[in-house]
């Protein structure tokens, strides 16, 4: 009898404990290493016994994830608490009212102190109209990946300008006579990466989409020159194959892994694949360099990176905030750098000996991330991106001349910016 009473008491206590346990759900993309994220969250659960964190894994690209998130967030679904979003999205999240403002939990003095620790570009990207929408998970930028073995064989140093890269590619292609080898790879299909491709030459000539006040400043001539540059890589210099309009970032990454590219402009995630994938034929043969300069211009890279935000429809915002602070801490950034070769958003980690041992090229990556340029910040960014990527894609598919496409892109941008 006594045992039975004790059992009842125990069951009651267990149910109380269960009720007090908070379940949080974190949303990340399929390309963001759910395995590594699980280990990070396991540590958090150990330190916070009352909290259970589940991971929901979305599609493999930024666009696919956002498609799903749009459905969840427009229906005000409370099932997600902390969400990992692409750097291009905070403005949209703020305008649509999907993100909880983090200022609510951070007194302004603490906020400024906290933000000083991150790379400035990410602070800028996450503050929309004065409100802190998200905190950085990891940084990213485009680099020039090159075949160290091939460049060494022909006595070349990593190219500093695009003209050099083109010439080196031409000579290596001529010398190798390998029908499966291509020169310079860049993204040209209808996807987010193609927006970066379009903007690179524009940034490198010192221009941008908007001026400091956020007014449209891009001209048709600047857009045309960018489109012409990429078209010339195929038609005039013959260092890129004629089907670049088909190429997504991960297509080029996979082909480079098979040894089919001399140069490619890719984000940081590619390194881990080249070095560690079992089917990689280029292990230890890949070098990473700063993006080349244009003759008379400067070097420009496209700023990437992922941010943690709290869903405005979460029912556990206070706990979600605590988790978000952990996920955006230097401790987690180091784990991500070690296990997923994600670039940290904290400058001091680029000198961390453990990280440099596994990712020697991080040593030179900091200036690239520091000088990388952000894509336009605008609540209607998806429309801006669509105009740019479809314009470049049409030029590469030769359905539009650079003149026509430049005119159409600018027409689209003028409608969006209301100018």
């Amino acid at each position: 009898m006594v045992t039975r009473v004790w059992l009842l008491v125990l069951a009651f206590l267990a149910s109380v404990a269960f009720a007090q346990q908070v379940r949080l759900k974190v949303f990340i993309g399929g390309q963001q290493r759910p395995d590594v994220m699980r280990r990070i969250l396991d540590v958090y659960e150990q330190r916070n016994p009352g909290i259970r964190v589940e991971i929901e894994v979305g599609g493999a690209t930024s666009d696919q994830q956002q498609q799903y998130l749009t459905t969840v967030l427009t229906s005000r679904d409370p099932s997600l608490d902390v969400i990992l979003i692409d750097i291009i999205r905070p403005a949209q999240y703020r305008a649509a009212g999907w993100s909880e403002t983090l200022d609510r939990y951070l007194p302004s003095a603490t906020r400024d102190q906290l933000l000083r620790r991150y790379l400035p570009a990410y602070v800028q990207a996450n503050i929309v109209d004065g409100a802190l929408v998200a905190l950085p998970a990891f940084a990213d930028a485009q680099f020039l990946y090159y075949r160290k073995d091939l460049l060494d064989k022909y006595g070349f140093k990593p190219p500093v300008t695009w003209d050099e890269a083109i010439r080196q590619a031409q000579i290596i292609l001529q010398g190798e006579r390998d029908p499966n080898l291509n020169g310079i790879g860049f993204m040209g299909n209808i996807s987010e990466g193609t927006v970066c491709t379009f903007l690179l030459p524009i940034w490198a000539m010192g221009a941008d989409v908007t001026d400091e006040k956020g007014r449209l400043s891009l001209t048709e001539e600047q857009a045309r020159r960018s489109l012409q540059f990429w078209l010339d890589l195929m038609d005039r210099h013959r260092v890129s194959p004629p089907n670049m309009a088909e190429k997504a970032q991960d297509t080029i990454r996979r082909e480079m892994q098979q040894g089919r590219w001399i140069f490619a402009t890719l984000f940081a995630y590619a390194w881990n694949h080249f070095q560690n994938d079992p089917d990689s034929r280029v292990k230890d043969k890949i070098g990473v360099a700063v993006m080349p300069r244009f003759e008379g211009g400067r070097s420009a890279s496209c700023l990437g990176g992922w941010q943690w935000t709290i869903s405005n429809f979460s029912r556990n915002k206070a706990q979600a905030y605590q988790l978000l602070r952990y996920l955006s801490s230097p401790e987690v950034a180091k784990v991500l750098a070690l296990e997923a070769s994600n670039l940290p958003a904290f400058p001091e980690l680029y000198r961390d000996p453990d990280i440099l041992r596994l990712n020697p090229w991080f040593r030179d990556a900091l200036p690239v991330v520091m000088s990388a340029r952000a894509r336009p910040v605008h609540p209607r960014y998806p429309e801006i991106a669509d105009a740019m990527r479809r314009g470049l894609n049409a030029v590469l598919a030769r359905t539009r001349t650079p003149e026509q496409a430049a005119r159409e892109i600018l027409q689209g941008l003028r409608t969006i910016y209301g100018q």
Binding site: Q67, A96, S191, A394, L396, T399
Partner: protein, 294 residues
């Protein structure tokens, strides 16, 4: 004796229809009405608009949107190419599956395969077929000594590659409907015709085709409607590219509402697709009634 709780036949019929009516209202009428109302509002989530009533502004914007007209043109071209294509191909398959010999079984099995496959799978499979470096189509061309063709990045080739995939995917549905129609034609007609000395072609034109007409119409209605709503296959194969060359109306609607979050504008575009589908259906139904009245 009639008890007070006994209902008249009419009332009983009404009573039985209520659940179906309620269900339809919930899953079809309510969303359609909501869509209709949204199409008159300025509901752009990315701009934080509150959904003010703007009358016909969204429709006016559609009329001036070159991308909308392009999507409409692509959609109609897909209807014009894939509906006759799938019907002819489906008819041939149905006739083969209806043969009295052993060949009908492999054909019948083969019919089910594309029909059972999700559309987006078909799109992904065909994207790999037509991929320019590793695709099987270019591999065959290379073995024949022809240069590789850039199927998915040439606007004209991309359209035909997409159309071909749609025909492959959808002709089995047409064939299944027609096969059912073929089997409902009494054998005696054929026997009588053969006794009278009719040739195979004559039998096809005079007996099979006229008696198959109702089934053909049903297949045509469904095929045209699904062709108007074409989304999955071009989305998986080309993403609407190169540029906008294979972007259909359904893809345009998705981009406006899901990607750009412009729900009002997307709803207006969806209403035009809805109207188009209704127009086509009523045209077919009228034709069907006219033939039944003969």
């Amino acid at each position: 004796m009639r008890r007070p709780w006994d209902l008249s036949e009419r009332a009983l019929a009404f009573f039985f229809l209520v659940p179906a009516f309620l269900l339809l209202s919930l899953v079809a009428v309510y969303p359609a009405a909501h869509l209709f109302l949204t199409s008159f509002r300025e509901l752009h989530l990315a701009l934080g608009t509150q959904g003010a009533f703007v009358g016909l502004a969204n429709y006016r914007q559609l009329l001036e949107d070159a991308r909308f007209w392009n999507a409409l043109r692509v959609t109609l071209e897909i209807v014009l190419v894939t509906v006759p294509g799938a019907t002819l191909f489906g008819l041939a398959l149905a006739l083969m599956a209806n043969l009295p010999y052993g060949i009908k079984w492999p054909v019948r099995l083969g019919l089910l395969l594309p029909w059972a496959m999700p559309l987006v799978f078909a799109g992904l499979i065909f994207r790999w077929f037509f991929e320019s470096d590793f695709g099987i189509v270019n591999d065959v061309l290379r073995r024949l000594g022809q240069g590789p063709l850039f199927w998915l990045t040439d606007p004209i080739l991309a359209f035909w590659a997409v159309a071909l995939s749609i025909v492959w995917k959808t002709s089995s549905f047409v064939a299944l409907v027609l096969l059912a129609g073929l089997q409902s034609i009494p054998r005696e007609y054929y026997e009588a015709a053969r006794v009278d000395g009719a040739g195979a072609l004559q039998i096809f034109w005079r007996i099979t085709l006229p008696l198959l007409k109702p089934a053909l119409l049903v297949a045509l209605i469904f095929r045209t409607l699904t062709a108007l709503q074409t989304f999955d296959i071009p989305y998986a194969m080309t993403g609407g590219g190169p540029g906008h060359a294979t972007e259909t109306l359904a893809m345009f609607i998705r981009t406006q509402s899901v990607e750009n979050l412009n729900l009002g504008y997307g709803s207006a575009a969806a209403m035009t697709l809805f109207a188009l589908s209704m127009a086509v259906t009523s045209l077919y139904l009228r034709h069907l009634q006219a033939t039944e009245g003969e």
